[in-house]
């Protein structure tokens, strides 16, 4: 079930009503949300409910045992190993099966492994990351132990953030499970603004940029030139931002209406004046997860400058590979790591131009991220060297306006959004709900027929 669908709207209104009805009854409230979350996931593929329950059970048992001194090490290493093996199996099995098949074919031992292809369960990375963070945080003493398994099962499966984040920390979410805050006028207004902005970003800006510029460009990169390549690279940078931050906005808004507050996941990332600042503004919940559970355990800021740079490179390369087993993701991660490492040694001191340099670097690195192969990545970069081409894209005024809107969303002062939240919070509740309904209706009307999945669902 995708957020920008009528099916989700119907589902959510029912859950919202049930949640409100049992809001003051803790056990019932948890049961309603847990059932709703499992129904939400079952709408994709009912077979993977057992997997999600298994991951939750692993985290729960790991959390129970990790606080016992005699079991601590075994529980920590054991549960993290199990969780990483599950993640690794689903994410990389197809890659290794295909590689083995190619290797055997090269050696004259042709074998067909395609029948063994494994489906990647939607959102598996996100809920496994949450499970790992729960066990590790229990070990570090950052979270209070939970004896009620429903708390952990709900933490792992809570539907607003289940399939593409934000990755919520147990220390932030578990206390809210016991005492969620009934949404007041401010929270409702904030939720309405977030949901509408998120729907607009996804259904209008991201989806149309994809259809009008990005997809046709990447379907025929060798027919493009400098102008169309520039537009397409910029368009993809905006598409992925609007797609992913739009999903996060909706998730945060939906959770807020249910009485739960998530932390912000994007903070105008293309305004960053350094790569470090970019990663502090882009997919913040994943960046901080990588920092706390990968970068710091690998050594973090300790040791010599060279060692720190190596740790940064390793962390970002692994983050790249998390997106998928392939050269392009490896290159994307490694180059971001290299950029961060170089920046640590030689900080950019170009004043206002810093932002431009970072923006160009980030946008160009989206090319290997989006291109289906390394060969196509090279074709895109070749297009930058041509002024004439045989099949350039037609850039419609609407598409160019969307690029402008997407960029504006990164530069408009956040106080504008806060101001609209303040104004809406003073409006009667009927007007708040009416605006949410009308805005959603308009987004559906402007959007294309059909539903485009969110980019980050594949990770």
């Amino acid at each position: 079930m995708l957020f920008p669908t009528l099916a989700f709207v119907l589902f959510f209104v029912v859950v919202l009503a049930l949640n409100a009805a049992v809001f003051d009854r803790g056990a019932w409230r948890k049961a309603v949300l847990l059932t709703a979350s499992y129904a939400f996931y079952a709408a994709w593929d009912v077979r993977f409910l057992a997997l999600m329950a298994g991951v939750s059970a692993t985290a729960y048992l790991g959390g129970l045992m990790v606080v016992r001194p005699q079991w601590r090490r075994l529980a920590l290493v054991g549960s993290i190993t199990v969780l990483l093996l599950i993640l690794g199996f689903f994410k990389y099995f197809n890659f290794f099966a295909l590689s083995l098949q190619q290797l055997l074919e090269a050696g004259g031992l042709g074998r067909d492994f395609t029948w063994m292809s494994v489906i990647l369960p939607v959102g598996i990375s996100f809920y496994i990351f949450q499970a790992i963070s729960y066990v590790v945080d229990m070990d570090r003493g950052h979270v209070e132990q939970r004896r009620n398994p429903i708390d952990i099962f709900l933490y792992i499966s809570f539907f607003p953030q289940l399939v593409a984040g934000p990755i919520v920390r147990a220390s932030h979410f578990l206390p809210q499970i016991d005492a969620p805050k009934r949404p007041d006028a401010n929270a409702r207004a904030e939720a309405v603004v977030l949901i509408l902005v998120g729907l607009f970003k996804k259904m209008v800006v991201a989806n149309y940029l994809s259809v009008l510029i990005v997809d046709p460009f990447y379907a025929l990169p060798d027919g493009q030139n400098l102008f169309t390549a520039t537009a397409a690279v910029l368009a993809y940078g905006i598409q992925i931002y609007c797609d992913f931050s739009g999903y996060s906005d909706i998730a945060i808004g939906v959770a807020l209406l249910l009485g739960y507050r998530f932390t912000r996941n994007f903070n105008q990332p293309y305004r960053a004046d350094s790569l470090r600042a970019f990663w502090q503004r882009w997919h913040i919940s994943l960046s901080t997860w990588i920092r706390d559970y990968l970068y710091i355990p690998l050594g973090g800021n300790h040791g010599s400058k060279a060692r720190q740079m190596l740790v940064l490179m390793t962390t970002m390369t692994l983050a790249g590979l998390w997106h998928g087993a392939g050269w392009n993701f490896l290159i994307w991660g490694a180059l971001h790591g290299a950029g961060l490492a170089l920046e640590r040694r030689w900080a950019l001191r170009l004043g206002a131009l810093n932002m431009v340099v970072v923006l160009v670097f980030v946008m160009l690195l989206w090319v290997p991220f989006r291109a289906p192969s390394f060969a196509e990545t090279l074709l895109v970069f070749e297009a930058f060297t041509r002024v004439e081409s045989y099949a350039p894209l037609t850039l419609t005024p609407f598409a160019l306006v969307l690029i402008g809107i997407g960029l504006a969303m990164n530069w408009l002062p956040l106080s504008w959004r806060d101001g609209s939240v303040r104004t809406l919070s003073k409006a009667p509740v009927i007007l708040q709900a009416g605006l949410l309904a009308l805005g959603t209706w308009l987004c559906f009307a402007v959007a294309q027929e059909g539903v485009a999945p969110f980019i980050y669902f594949q990770f």
């Binding site: 409100a20 009912v46 009927i430 309904a437 559906f444 402007v446 294309q448 027929e449």
Partner: protein, 78 residues
């Protein structure tokens, strides 16, 4: 608590209004849901009755018209 229910009721009312004034058929969505046996039959019977009632009202497809108008002024070709 009362304001929360007012909020939810307004959303429900808006949903019904949208369904009434649009060409969207709930029946199409119901058939997309997982088959849950007798519950399915019950839901489908209710939705069929509701769709029949909507048909009898002979309301216009405002959603489709707005969509066409918006796509026209934005120059979007489906």
């Amino acid at each position: 608590m009362r304001t929360q229910f007012t909020f939810i009721l307004t959303l429900c009312f808006a949903l019904v209004l949208v369904w009434l004034t649009s060409g969207q058929r709930l029946l199409d969505w119901v058939f997309l849901m997982p088959d849950v046996g007798q519950v399915d039959d019950f839901v489908i019977a209710w939705v069929l009755a509701a769709e029949d009632w909507k048909q009898s009202l002979e309301l216009e497809d405002n959603f489709g018209q707005t969509r066409e108008w918006l796509h026209g002024i934005l120059g979007i070709n489906e």
